[in-house]
Amino acid sequence: MTALLPMAQTPAPELAPAPRRGALREVGTVLAAVVLIAIVVSVVLAGVIGPHGYDEQDVINSYAHPTWFGHHPLGTDNLGRDVLVRTLYGGRPALAISAVAAVLATALGLGLSLLAVLGGRFWDAFLGRIADIQLAIPTILLALVVLAFAGSGTKPLIVVLTVGAWVLTFRILRSHAGRIAALPYIEAARLSGAGPGSVLWRHVLPACAPLAAVGLTLNFSSTLVLESSLGYLGLGVQPPKPDWGQMVATGQAQLAGAWWISLIPGAFIVLTVVAVQILGDRIADRLTLITDGDVA
């Protein structure tokens, strides 16, 4: 190894870019958090908020325009069912299924990436190959095939969503963990007597946790999108139970006359996804600031 140039005693703060701060950014974060909490809370409390059941038909009042603050605030659909209530109830399968799948996918991606990095060349090659193959199958396609021929339902949905989402987390964490594992302080730990388990627990996992947390938010937004796309195609939760994606599909025929049936549930999807992404972005920023001076 040839000589290194003597490093600076301290990093040169005056040449480092200033952290991005601004009133607009703070407002955005707060807004996103508020929106997300509002959506989650109202979905959970759907039974309490809406005076009607989600299946309560009121055919006389069908296609009622949204009144925003009065009776049927978000209008009614073709059978007179209240759109607000249906949307709130429709959020339950959407959010629950996506959240569970996101957690599972992140755990799977994290676990397998650690196995790939610390388990030796065999596991690295094997898991890498599986990930490559999986990426070769467009997720939607696989989901369609599985759900069509194996039957749809909550459990198959969760499985399909998890299988679709773990790969990206795996790839990102594997390259990150790979870089960490090559750093001298990992060797130092082994010299101190750490076995692979100790190395993992003491050094690699803490180094990967921030990225995994960000990955969790990204996974949630992508599983939510996938879940609602499948619902749109009729392969998600089946009627009469409402589901956001499903509602967008059934309302599409009435776009010209009663746009709210289709667009309201869709708006909820978009709001949730955007809010989650903004919060995920902020978490990433904060974690970078915390590990300031990080070697990796």
């Binding site: 070769a136 199958i137 095939v145 776009l255």
Partner: protein
């Protein structure tokens, strides 16, 4: 003179062309591709047979037992699974699939008939995404104005957050119903490609822009850029010959990944806009439980994706004089 130096616009000082990939590299990549296609198809096969007898899905639940037995026999679903697998592989290699249940003709013909439409849509959408994404990423990494650096990428990212089916519905509501200027079904008129391609572009541009921005930022910090500047050549020459070309590799990789997303997303987008491509055929076939078509179209899409990735890999390796020799 190699691809890289031509791409960089550098004048040719030296004669001769160096083939950028070693034979070993090409062979290994090809083997890789074949292996991947085989694995994908195997997975699809077993996915299709998850419930044991796919015929169960093909008949109505209250049909008499004989119908089920008939179909099972007809499709060969009663043979041992490994034998079915062997037949399946043979079908793929020879291209002789059982006839479509619904249409009664060879699924490969049907798929081949629909393929151009899908490719057309995918190509237009991807090109739009590349152009938009590259511009946004370039501006984000190099612009002097703070706003210009942040806004384009943020805008693209927000579009990415909207699920493509919903974006399609919204666009239809806006541009086909409220202001009826664009068609929203089929591909009869030349401007019917606008809306579906727009949806694809919006979904794909964001990752391209982010990766390009990051890659440019990293390259701008690199030492060889300093030396290029030290030669006193114009900043524009430095930017294009030394920064942009060196930043392309990760972007090309992302484009490869996005191509897969296009192929998959095409399924949804084609369905929403009734665009007569392979994706729409597949969803209809799944709705009709038309097993042979599903098989054929998944095969074609998987092969297509692997081919695209192979090309992308080769291009990326060709651009880097160090890469193509392994």
């Amino acid at each position: 003179m190699t691809i890289a130096s031509v791409a960089a616009g550098a004048p040719r000082l030296t004669r001769g062309f160096r083939w950028p990939w070693s034979r070993r590299y090409l062979v290994s990549r090809l083997l890789n591709a074949v292996l991947t296609v085989w694995a994908v198809l195997t997975i699809v096969f077993f996915a299709l047979h998850l419930t044991g007898n796919p015929a169960v899905v093909l008949v109505a639940p209250d049909a008499p037992k004989e119908t089920l037995a008939q179909i099972t026999n007809l499709m060969g679903f009663d043979k041992p699974i490994l034998e079915q697998y062997g037949i399946f592989l043979r079908q793929i290699v020879t291209g002789h699939y059982p006839d479509s249940i619904r249409y009664g003709e060879s699924p490969l013909h049907l798929v081949a008939h629909r393929l151009p439409a899908t490719l057309e849509l995918g190509a237009v959408g991807l090109c739009g995404a590349i152009i938009l994404g590259s511009l946004a990423g370039y501006v984000a990494a190099t612009s002097g104005h703070r706003r210009l650096r942040r806004i384009p990428v943020s805008v693209l990212t927000s579009f990415e957050a909207i699920p493509s089916f919903f974006l399609s519905v919204v666009l239809i509501a806006l541009f086909a119903i409220t202001w009826p200027i664009l068609p929203f079904a089929g591909n009869d008129s030349p401007d019917s490609i606008v809306l579906p391609a727009l949806v694809i572009t919006c979904s794909l541009a964001a990752p391209i822009s982010r990766v390009f921005r990051t890659s440019l930022q990293e390259t701008l910090d690199a030492d060889h850029v300093r030396l290029a500047q030290a030669k006193g050549i114009s900043p524009r020459a430095v930017m294009f010959r030394h920064v942009v070309v060196n930043s392309l590799a990760p972007v090309i990789n992302v484009i490869g990944v996005q191509a897969g997303v296009v192929l998959g997303g095409a399924v949804v987008t084609e369905t929403v806009f009734s665009w007569p491509g392979v994706g729409q055929l597949t969803t209809a076939a799944i709705g009709n439980r038309d097993y042979p078509i599903v098989l054929a179209s998944v095969t074609v899409l998987a092969i297509g994706f692997v081919v695209i990735n192979l090309v992308v890999d080769l291009v990326a390796a060709g651009l880097d004089p160090r890469g193509g020799q392994r």
